[in-house]
Symmetry: C2
Subunit: 218 residues, 2 copies
Protein backbone atom coordinates (compact mmCIF):
# COMPACT_ATOMS: atom_id res chain seq x y z
CA UNK A 1 0.00 0.00 0.00
CA UNK A 2 1.44 3.34 -0.99
CA UNK A 3 -0.49 5.64 1.36
CA UNK A 4 -0.34 5.75 5.15
CA UNK A 5 -3.59 5.78 7.07
CA UNK A 6 -4.40 9.16 8.59
CA UNK A 7 -5.21 9.04 12.30
CA UNK A 8 -6.51 11.81 14.59
CA UNK A 9 -2.93 12.05 15.89
CA UNK A 10 -1.27 12.47 12.48
CA UNK A 11 -3.99 14.55 10.83
CA UNK A 12 -2.42 17.94 10.13
CA UNK A 13 -4.16 20.73 12.00
CA UNK A 14 -2.07 23.54 10.53
CA UNK A 15 -1.50 23.83 6.79
CA UNK A 16 -2.86 20.43 5.73
CA UNK A 17 -1.94 21.46 2.16
CA UNK A 18 1.69 20.93 3.16
CA UNK A 19 1.08 17.42 4.45
CA UNK A 20 1.65 14.09 2.79
CA UNK A 21 0.79 10.56 3.77
CA UNK A 22 2.45 9.09 0.71
CA UNK A 23 4.84 6.30 1.72
CA UNK A 24 7.39 7.11 -0.99
CA UNK A 25 7.55 10.73 0.21
CA UNK A 26 8.00 9.65 3.85
CA UNK A 27 10.66 7.10 2.88
CA UNK A 28 12.63 9.58 0.75
CA UNK A 29 12.88 12.05 3.66
CA UNK A 30 13.88 9.30 6.10
CA UNK A 31 16.52 8.03 3.66
CA UNK A 32 18.08 11.43 3.02
CA UNK A 33 18.42 12.76 6.58
CA UNK A 34 21.18 11.54 8.90
CA UNK A 35 19.74 12.04 12.37
CA UNK A 36 16.35 11.98 13.99
CA UNK A 37 15.05 13.51 17.22
CA UNK A 38 13.47 10.89 19.50
CA UNK A 39 10.81 12.02 21.94
CA UNK A 40 9.87 9.98 24.99
CA UNK A 41 8.57 10.63 28.46
CA UNK A 42 9.97 9.88 31.92
CA UNK A 43 7.98 10.79 35.04
CA UNK A 44 5.82 13.29 33.16
CA UNK A 45 8.79 15.08 31.58
CA UNK A 46 9.25 14.82 27.80
CA UNK A 47 12.80 14.31 26.57
CA UNK A 48 14.04 14.84 23.01
CA UNK A 49 17.41 13.39 22.02
CA UNK A 50 19.20 13.36 18.66
CA UNK A 51 20.42 10.04 17.34
CA UNK A 52 21.22 8.25 14.10
CA UNK A 53 18.67 5.87 12.65
CA UNK A 54 17.96 3.88 9.54
CA UNK A 55 14.88 2.80 7.66
CA UNK A 56 14.66 -0.84 6.62
CA UNK A 57 11.54 -1.32 4.55
CA UNK A 58 8.59 -0.44 6.80
CA UNK A 59 10.53 -0.03 10.06
CA UNK A 60 12.77 2.65 11.50
CA UNK A 61 15.67 1.44 13.68
CA UNK A 62 17.53 3.31 16.41
CA UNK A 63 20.28 1.95 18.63
CA UNK A 64 22.45 2.87 21.55
CA UNK A 65 24.25 1.66 24.62
CA UNK A 66 22.36 -0.68 26.90
CA UNK A 67 23.17 1.86 29.65
CA UNK A 68 21.72 4.94 27.97
CA UNK A 69 18.82 6.72 29.63
CA UNK A 70 17.01 7.04 26.33
CA UNK A 71 17.17 3.35 25.52
CA UNK A 72 16.30 2.30 29.06
CA UNK A 73 13.27 4.61 28.90
CA UNK A 74 12.33 3.43 25.42
CA UNK A 75 11.62 0.03 26.84
CA UNK A 76 9.46 -2.36 24.92
CA UNK A 77 6.07 -0.77 24.42
CA UNK A 78 6.90 2.83 25.31
CA UNK A 79 5.13 5.52 23.31
CA UNK A 80 7.65 7.26 21.09
CA UNK A 81 7.74 10.08 18.56
CA UNK A 82 10.56 10.17 16.04
CA UNK A 83 10.93 13.36 14.02
CA UNK A 84 13.25 13.87 11.06
CA UNK A 85 13.76 17.35 9.61
CA UNK A 86 15.60 18.50 6.51
CA UNK A 87 16.04 22.27 6.46
CA UNK A 88 15.99 23.43 2.83
CA UNK A 89 15.92 27.20 3.04
CA UNK A 90 15.10 30.47 4.74
CA UNK A 91 11.94 32.06 3.35
CA UNK A 92 12.36 35.82 3.63
CA UNK A 93 9.09 37.66 3.14
CA UNK A 94 8.28 41.37 2.95
CA UNK A 95 6.48 41.23 6.30
CA UNK A 96 7.84 39.79 9.55
CA UNK A 97 4.69 37.67 9.85
CA UNK A 98 5.15 35.73 6.61
CA UNK A 99 8.75 34.68 7.18
CA UNK A 100 9.07 30.91 7.08
CA UNK A 101 11.39 28.01 6.35
CA UNK A 102 11.45 25.60 3.46
CA UNK A 103 11.74 22.12 4.93
CA UNK A 104 10.80 18.48 4.60
CA UNK A 105 9.92 16.68 7.82
CA UNK A 106 8.49 13.37 8.98
CA UNK A 107 6.75 12.75 12.29
CA UNK A 108 6.45 9.09 13.23
CA UNK A 109 4.39 7.94 16.23
CA UNK A 110 4.41 4.49 17.67
CA UNK A 111 5.51 2.02 20.29
CA UNK A 112 9.11 0.89 20.56
CA UNK A 113 9.82 -2.77 19.86
CA UNK A 114 13.12 -4.16 21.14
CA UNK A 115 15.09 -6.21 18.63
CA UNK A 116 16.67 -9.13 20.47
CA UNK A 117 17.52 -11.62 17.70
CA UNK A 118 21.21 -11.31 16.83
CA UNK A 119 20.76 -11.64 13.03
CA UNK A 120 18.25 -8.76 12.96
CA UNK A 121 20.51 -6.67 15.20
CA UNK A 122 23.44 -7.28 12.83
CA UNK A 123 21.28 -6.42 9.84
CA UNK A 124 20.34 -3.15 11.56
CA UNK A 125 24.01 -2.35 12.28
CA UNK A 126 24.95 -2.90 8.63
CA UNK A 127 22.02 -0.78 7.48
CA UNK A 128 22.97 2.02 9.92
CA UNK A 129 26.47 2.14 8.41
CA UNK A 130 25.10 2.06 4.87
CA UNK A 131 22.69 4.87 5.78
CA UNK A 132 25.61 7.04 6.89
CA UNK A 133 28.09 6.09 4.16
CA UNK A 134 27.15 3.66 1.39
CA UNK A 135 29.63 0.78 1.18
CA UNK A 136 30.93 1.33 4.71
CA UNK A 137 29.55 -1.95 6.13
CA UNK A 138 31.87 -3.94 3.84
CA UNK A 139 34.98 -1.91 4.75
CA UNK A 140 35.02 -2.12 8.54
CA UNK A 141 35.26 -4.77 11.25
CA UNK A 142 31.68 -5.81 12.04
CA UNK A 143 30.37 -5.78 15.61
CA UNK A 144 31.42 -8.88 17.57
CA UNK A 145 29.07 -10.70 19.93
CA UNK A 146 30.08 -8.63 22.95
CA UNK A 147 29.49 -5.36 21.10
CA UNK A 148 26.21 -6.63 19.68
CA UNK A 149 24.95 -7.59 23.15
CA UNK A 150 26.08 -4.25 24.62
CA UNK A 151 23.91 -2.41 22.10
CA UNK A 152 20.17 -2.02 22.42
CA UNK A 153 18.32 -1.91 19.11
CA UNK A 154 14.74 -0.68 18.88
CA UNK A 155 12.45 -0.49 15.93
CA UNK A 156 9.25 1.35 15.18
CA UNK A 157 6.81 0.37 12.47
CA UNK A 158 6.32 3.15 9.91
CA UNK A 159 2.54 3.11 10.19
CA UNK A 160 1.33 6.21 12.02
CA UNK A 161 3.38 8.84 10.23
CA UNK A 162 3.10 11.96 8.14
CA UNK A 163 5.38 14.15 6.09
CA UNK A 164 5.19 17.92 5.90
CA UNK A 165 6.86 19.91 3.17
CA UNK A 166 7.19 23.60 2.36
CA UNK A 167 8.84 24.73 -0.86
CA UNK A 168 8.95 27.84 -2.97
CA UNK A 169 9.04 31.62 -2.52
CA UNK A 170 7.42 33.64 0.29
CA UNK A 171 3.68 34.27 0.14
CA UNK A 172 3.06 37.85 1.21
CA UNK A 173 -0.11 39.82 1.79
CA UNK A 174 -1.25 41.73 -1.31
CA UNK A 175 -0.65 45.03 0.45
CA UNK A 176 3.04 44.23 0.98
CA UNK A 177 4.20 43.40 -2.56
CA UNK A 178 4.86 47.09 -3.24
CA UNK A 179 7.35 47.33 -0.34
CA UNK A 180 10.94 47.92 -1.35
CA UNK A 181 12.64 45.17 0.67
CA UNK A 182 14.28 42.12 -0.86
CA UNK A 183 12.23 38.91 -0.67
CA UNK A 184 13.08 35.39 -1.66
CA UNK A 185 14.67 32.17 -0.48
CA UNK A 186 18.15 31.43 0.85
CA UNK A 187 18.67 27.73 -0.02
CA UNK A 188 20.26 25.69 2.78
CA UNK A 189 21.76 22.21 2.68
CA UNK A 190 23.90 20.02 4.88
CA UNK A 191 27.11 19.76 2.90
CA UNK A 192 30.30 17.80 3.38
CA UNK A 193 33.78 19.27 3.28
CA UNK A 194 36.96 17.35 2.35
CA UNK A 195 37.33 14.28 4.65
CA UNK A 196 39.97 14.59 7.39
CA UNK A 197 42.00 11.40 7.89
CA UNK A 198 42.49 10.11 11.44
CA UNK A 199 46.01 11.29 12.46
CA UNK A 200 46.72 7.63 13.29
CA UNK A 201 45.92 6.52 9.71
CA UNK A 202 48.88 5.34 7.59
CA UNK A 203 49.29 7.65 4.59
CA UNK A 204 49.09 4.69 2.19
CA UNK A 205 45.41 4.00 2.99
CA UNK A 206 43.27 5.81 0.38
CA UNK A 207 39.83 7.40 0.72
CA UNK A 208 37.11 4.92 -0.30
CA UNK A 209 35.17 5.85 -3.47
CA UNK A 210 32.03 6.60 -1.42
CA UNK A 211 33.81 9.56 0.19
CA UNK A 212 35.15 11.28 -2.92
CA UNK A 213 33.09 13.34 -2.60
CA UNK A 214 30.58 12.47 0.12
CA UNK A 215 27.02 13.47 -0.76
CA UNK A 216 23.58 12.86 0.72
CA UNK A 217 21.00 11.56 -1.73
CA UNK A 218 18.60 14.13 -3.07
CA UNK B 1 26.45 33.03 37.03
CA UNK B 2 28.31 31.28 34.27
CA UNK B 3 27.47 27.65 35.07
CA UNK B 4 24.05 25.99 35.00
CA UNK B 5 23.04 23.90 37.98
CA UNK B 6 23.11 20.16 37.28
CA UNK B 7 19.90 18.35 38.17
CA UNK B 8 19.18 14.61 38.21
CA UNK B 9 17.33 15.19 34.92
CA UNK B 10 20.19 16.96 33.15
CA UNK B 11 23.05 14.94 34.64
CA UNK B 12 24.64 13.06 31.74
CA UNK B 13 24.38 9.31 32.16
CA UNK B 14 26.34 8.43 29.01
CA UNK B 15 29.71 10.02 28.26
CA UNK B 16 29.64 12.77 30.93
CA UNK B 17 33.05 13.82 29.55
CA UNK B 18 31.19 15.19 26.54
CA UNK B 19 28.83 17.29 28.65
CA UNK B 20 28.94 20.94 29.52
CA UNK B 21 26.90 23.08 31.86
CA UNK B 22 28.74 26.24 30.91
CA UNK B 23 26.27 28.98 30.00
CA UNK B 24 28.46 30.46 27.28
CA UNK B 25 28.73 27.05 25.59
CA UNK B 26 24.96 26.51 25.76
CA UNK B 27 24.29 30.03 24.44
CA UNK B 28 26.72 29.67 21.53
CA UNK B 29 24.99 26.48 20.31
CA UNK B 30 21.53 28.06 20.68
CA UNK B 31 22.68 31.16 18.78
CA UNK B 32 24.23 29.24 15.88
CA UNK B 33 21.45 26.72 15.11
CA UNK B 34 18.33 27.77 13.21
CA UNK B 35 15.69 25.32 14.39
CA UNK B 36 14.92 23.36 17.53
CA UNK B 37 12.87 20.24 18.13
CA UNK B 38 10.16 20.79 20.76
CA UNK B 39 8.96 17.80 22.75
CA UNK B 40 5.63 17.80 24.58
CA UNK B 41 3.03 15.26 25.56
CA UNK B 42 -0.65 14.92 24.74
CA UNK B 43 -2.71 12.06 26.22
CA UNK B 44 0.39 10.00 27.03
CA UNK B 45 1.85 10.36 23.53
CA UNK B 46 5.05 12.38 23.13
CA UNK B 47 5.23 14.69 20.09
CA UNK B 48 8.37 16.26 18.65
CA UNK B 49 7.99 19.15 16.21
CA UNK B 50 10.63 21.30 14.52
CA UNK B 51 10.31 25.06 14.81
CA UNK B 52 12.36 28.24 14.77
CA UNK B 53 13.33 29.84 18.05
CA UNK B 54 15.52 32.54 19.46
CA UNK B 55 17.46 33.07 22.65
CA UNK B 56 17.07 36.42 24.39
CA UNK B 57 19.41 36.53 27.35
CA UNK B 58 18.35 33.71 29.69
CA UNK B 59 15.16 32.69 27.86
CA UNK B 60 14.39 30.73 24.73
CA UNK B 61 11.36 31.86 22.70
CA UNK B 62 9.21 29.86 20.30
CA UNK B 63 6.13 31.05 18.48
CA UNK B 64 3.38 29.85 16.22
CA UNK B 65 -0.23 30.20 15.22
CA UNK B 66 -2.77 30.41 18.01
CA UNK B 67 -4.44 27.45 16.26
CA UNK B 68 -1.46 25.12 16.18
CA UNK B 69 -1.67 21.83 18.06
CA UNK B 70 1.81 22.34 19.46
CA UNK B 71 1.11 25.75 20.89
CA UNK B 72 -2.28 24.74 22.24
CA UNK B 73 -0.62 21.78 23.97
CA UNK B 74 2.26 23.89 25.21
CA UNK B 75 -0.15 25.80 27.34
CA UNK B 76 1.14 27.77 30.29
CA UNK B 77 2.86 25.38 32.64
CA UNK B 78 3.28 22.36 30.34
CA UNK B 79 6.48 20.36 30.72
CA UNK B 80 8.59 20.86 27.63
CA UNK B 81 11.92 19.70 26.25
CA UNK B 82 13.62 21.78 23.59
CA UNK B 83 16.57 20.20 21.82
CA UNK B 84 18.93 21.93 19.42
CA UNK B 85 21.45 19.91 17.42
CA UNK B 86 24.30 21.00 15.16
CA UNK B 87 25.67 18.10 13.13
CA UNK B 88 29.38 18.71 12.56
CA UNK B 89 30.65 15.50 10.99
CA UNK B 90 30.54 11.78 10.36
CA UNK B 91 33.05 9.89 12.49
CA UNK B 92 34.13 6.86 10.49
CA UNK B 93 35.99 4.32 12.62
CA UNK B 94 37.72 1.06 11.74
CA UNK B 95 35.03 -0.97 13.53
CA UNK B 96 31.28 -0.69 13.03
CA UNK B 97 30.88 -0.26 16.80
CA UNK B 98 32.95 2.92 17.12
CA UNK B 99 31.28 4.88 14.34
CA UNK B 100 29.88 8.13 15.68
CA UNK B 101 28.94 11.70 14.83
CA UNK B 102 30.61 14.95 15.73
CA UNK B 103 27.91 17.26 17.03
CA UNK B 104 27.02 20.03 19.44
CA UNK B 105 23.62 19.79 21.11
CA UNK B 106 21.64 21.44 23.86
CA UNK B 107 18.78 19.86 25.79
CA UNK B 108 16.61 22.32 27.69
CA UNK B 109 13.91 21.19 30.11
CA UNK B 110 11.30 23.39 31.65
CA UNK B 111 7.78 24.68 31.80
CA UNK B 112 6.35 26.87 29.05
CA UNK B 113 5.45 30.42 29.99
CA UNK B 114 3.08 32.25 27.65
CA UNK B 115 4.14 35.76 26.69
CA UNK B 116 1.04 37.94 26.60
CA UNK B 117 2.40 41.51 26.83
CA UNK B 118 2.54 43.02 23.34
CA UNK B 119 5.91 44.77 23.77
CA UNK B 120 7.60 41.49 24.79
CA UNK B 121 5.89 39.68 21.91
CA UNK B 122 7.17 42.32 19.47
CA UNK B 123 10.65 42.09 20.95
CA UNK B 124 10.55 38.31 20.42
CA UNK B 125 9.41 38.74 16.78
CA UNK B 126 12.30 41.12 16.08
CA UNK B 127 14.75 38.77 17.76
CA UNK B 128 13.43 35.79 15.76
CA UNK B 129 14.07 37.67 12.52
CA UNK B 130 17.54 38.76 13.67
CA UNK B 131 18.28 35.15 14.65
CA UNK B 132 17.48 34.00 11.11
CA UNK B 133 19.05 36.89 9.19
CA UNK B 134 20.83 39.73 11.03
CA UNK B 135 19.41 43.11 10.04
CA UNK B 136 16.16 41.64 8.75
CA UNK B 137 13.93 43.16 11.44
CA UNK B 138 14.75 46.66 10.14
CA UNK B 139 14.04 45.79 6.49
CA UNK B 140 10.53 44.33 6.66
CA UNK B 141 7.05 45.43 7.68
CA UNK B 142 6.70 44.56 11.38
CA UNK B 143 3.77 42.52 12.66
CA UNK B 144 0.61 44.61 13.12
CA UNK B 145 -1.70 44.18 16.10
CA UNK B 146 -3.86 41.55 14.39
CA UNK B 147 -0.83 39.45 13.44
CA UNK B 148 0.65 39.86 16.90
CA UNK B 149 -2.55 38.67 18.57
CA UNK B 150 -2.86 35.73 16.13
CA UNK B 151 0.57 34.49 17.21
CA UNK B 152 1.22 32.62 20.42
CA UNK B 153 4.65 33.26 21.94
CA UNK B 154 6.07 30.99 24.61
CA UNK B 155 9.28 31.26 26.51
CA UNK B 156 11.33 28.86 28.57
CA UNK B 157 13.93 29.92 31.11
CA UNK B 158 17.38 28.56 30.26
CA UNK B 159 17.92 27.05 33.69
CA UNK B 160 17.71 23.26 33.50
CA UNK B 161 19.87 22.66 30.46
CA UNK B 162 23.00 20.91 29.30
CA UNK B 163 25.20 20.88 26.24
CA UNK B 164 26.84 17.79 24.77
CA UNK B 165 29.70 17.98 22.31
CA UNK B 166 31.75 15.45 20.40
CA UNK B 167 34.72 16.55 18.33
CA UNK B 168 37.79 14.95 16.81
CA UNK B 169 38.79 11.70 15.11
CA UNK B 170 37.37 8.22 15.78
CA UNK B 171 38.54 6.35 18.88
CA UNK B 172 39.07 2.73 17.90
CA UNK B 173 39.97 -0.35 19.94
CA UNK B 174 43.73 -0.98 20.04
CA UNK B 175 43.24 -4.23 18.12
CA UNK B 176 41.69 -2.40 15.16
CA UNK B 177 44.32 0.24 14.37
CA UNK B 178 46.19 -2.24 12.14
CA UNK B 179 43.13 -2.73 9.90
CA UNK B 180 43.50 -1.42 6.38
CA UNK B 181 40.30 0.59 6.10
CA UNK B 182 40.16 4.38 5.90
CA UNK B 183 39.21 6.13 9.13
CA UNK B 184 38.58 9.78 9.87
CA UNK B 185 35.97 12.50 9.86
CA UNK B 186 33.75 13.85 7.09
CA UNK B 187 33.01 17.44 8.20
CA UNK B 188 29.39 18.50 7.73
CA UNK B 189 27.84 21.95 7.90
CA UNK B 190 24.58 23.60 6.97
CA UNK B 191 25.58 25.90 4.13
CA UNK B 192 23.72 28.50 2.12
CA UNK B 193 23.62 28.67 -1.66
CA UNK B 194 23.05 31.85 -3.70
CA UNK B 195 19.75 33.50 -2.64
CA UNK B 196 16.84 33.06 -5.07
CA UNK B 197 14.75 36.21 -5.50
CA UNK B 198 10.97 35.91 -5.28
CA UNK B 199 9.73 35.84 -8.92
CA UNK B 200 7.46 38.76 -7.94
CA UNK B 201 10.43 40.90 -6.86
CA UNK B 202 11.25 43.91 -9.09
CA UNK B 203 14.75 43.47 -10.53
CA UNK B 204 15.83 46.85 -9.15
CA UNK B 205 15.65 45.68 -5.50
CA UNK B 206 19.13 44.53 -4.45
CA UNK B 207 20.15 41.76 -2.03
CA UNK B 208 20.71 43.20 1.46
CA UNK B 209 24.33 43.08 2.71
CA UNK B 210 23.43 40.39 5.29
CA UNK B 211 22.73 37.94 2.45
CA UNK B 212 25.91 38.39 0.39
CA UNK B 213 26.82 35.78 1.36
CA UNK B 214 24.57 34.36 4.07
CA UNK B 215 26.50 32.58 6.82
CA UNK B 216 25.68 31.13 10.23
CA UNK B 217 27.91 32.30 13.05
CA UNK B 218 30.58 29.86 14.11
Amino acid sequence: MSTLTVTPRTRLVRRPDRGSFDRATVHAILDEALICHVGFEVDGQPYVLPTVYVRIEEHLYVHGSVGSRMLRSLREGAQVCVTVTLLDGLVLARSAFHHSMNYRSVVLLGRAQEVTELPEKRRAFDALLEHIAPGRSREVRPADDLETRATTVLRLPIEEASAKIRTGPPIDDERDYALGCWAGVVPLALTAAQPIADPALPAAIPLPPSLQPYRRLR
